[in-house]
Amino acid sequence: MKTLAELAQIREKMKDKVGIREGVNGVRIVVGMATCGIAAGARPVLNTLVEEVSKEGLSATATVTQTGCIGICQYEPVVEVFEAGKEKVTYVKVTPDMAKRIVAEHIKGGKPVAEYTIGNYKI
């Protein structure tokens, strides 16, 4: 049973983490959520990213957000990972299973999953 009291507990757990309030987290995961992304299956990908980030205990250091059309509709669902001081990593044609691996190996482990990136995509 989910209650507002439980939500207040989450607040207490997160309130000391200044980063989440100011949006200056270590890692920002962005999912394309325009018509093209949604139709290609971006919603379950975003839901999976949120679940995995929470499960791995990374909720205070990583954010998962939505953006509009990135302009490469044929590669949707597209997931971009931004990290301060590092080059942006763009994952294409992402599925929920791929999203799990991205969180485990890249967000948690710090090593991008090269085979899922746009540079590695074979047409």
Binding site: I10, G68, C69
Partner: protein, 179 residues
Amino acid sequence: MKELSLNILDIAQNSFTAGATLTEIILEESADKLTIRIVDNGCGMSEDTLKQVSNPFYTTRTTRKVGLGIPLFRQAAEQTGGYITIQSTKDPVNHGTVITGVFNKSHIDFTPLGDIASTVCLLAQGCGEGDMVFTHKIEGKETVELDTRALREVLQGVPLSNPDVQLWIKAYTTQQYEK
């Protein structure tokens, strides 16, 4: 779109982009009819834009040349014998847009609503500085509701997009449907 809840997610993004401080998503469901209404107080559309929005080759985007959000929503309604209506005004005081879709549920081409709880938590994540109120009235059942204003009061600055908060919203919405 395989689920109407995906259309809702798609259309409501336009309200957020229009700078709405409040977006209401109101579903009313009886045995044979589903009405989906998206009401926002965003910047509204001009008469010229309003005439164009159902045209797939019209979009305000610059990254591509087609805009399929409204056309797909319209198709989903019309293929059940239903329809959509759009009212919008740029009036300086009462600006905003209302999009209504009426669906005949018993029609063979009715698209199921699908995973609406996933849409609700992503709407709460995507509404930015604005607020979102979701209401689903189902005949003979308890109304399902989620108001981000009430959640913000509890959260006191912790963002709605926080992954732990997101999971709470999804579970909170799902459990209301199970009542």
